[in-house]
Symmetry: C2
Subunit: 107 residues, 2 copies
């Protein structure tokens, strides 16, 4: 079928998986790292920096925004994206909580 059966999982499981999923693409990892390495906001140096078309970068930015990881601010005719620190920390906690709670047993 091809469609994920989200109904059979809890909201927490779906949310967590969604966060993992959005982070699960090298372009998006790369975008986050690049933004963080700059001292100022990044606009679309990203297109030059990462070797993907403008439309593709824009799409990846959209997905990062969808989980609240990026703030975008209009700055003249360009966009200034930066990491939403509050959300960033929140997600880090969420993942650590998952890792700490899901402990191993057996074998």
């Amino acid at each position: 079928m091809g469609i994920t059966k989200t109904q059979i999982f809890t909201d927490k499981q779906n949310d967590l998986a969604q966060v993992f999923k959005v982070l699960g693409h090298p372009a998006r990892v790369s975008i986050l790292q690049y933004i963080s390495n700059q001292n100022a906001c990044i606009c679309n140096d990203l297109v030059a920096e990462i070797g993907l078309a403008q439309a593709t970068i824009s799409q990846h930015l959209k997905e990062l925004k969808s989980i609240g990881l990026l703030n975008g601010e209009v700055e003249g005719k360009s966009m200034c994206y930066c990491i939403n620190v509050k959300r960033w920390t929140e997600i880090q906690s969420q993942l650590n909580s998952f890792f700490n709670t899901t402990k191993s047993n057996c074998c």
Copy 2:
């Protein structure tokens, strides 16, 4: 085109994204949580527990194995899966390192 351009990213970025990607499905999150909640190894109670077909569960287990997160042991006619604690901790560190390194600037 539909194919991820892994060549333009570093190995580290690709590895990290791959880990995120494997964790980015609610069934796999759920499988990990279920295995961890049992005191003994799980075999295919998973099929009964999670509402997915046996073939589908088997496929998800395979992906979790692909990043070294699960150990499988033959136990009679069933399989006993458990979390590879060493790898688990390793991945948790890797993710935390990413989160800590990728700090915010700007805005």
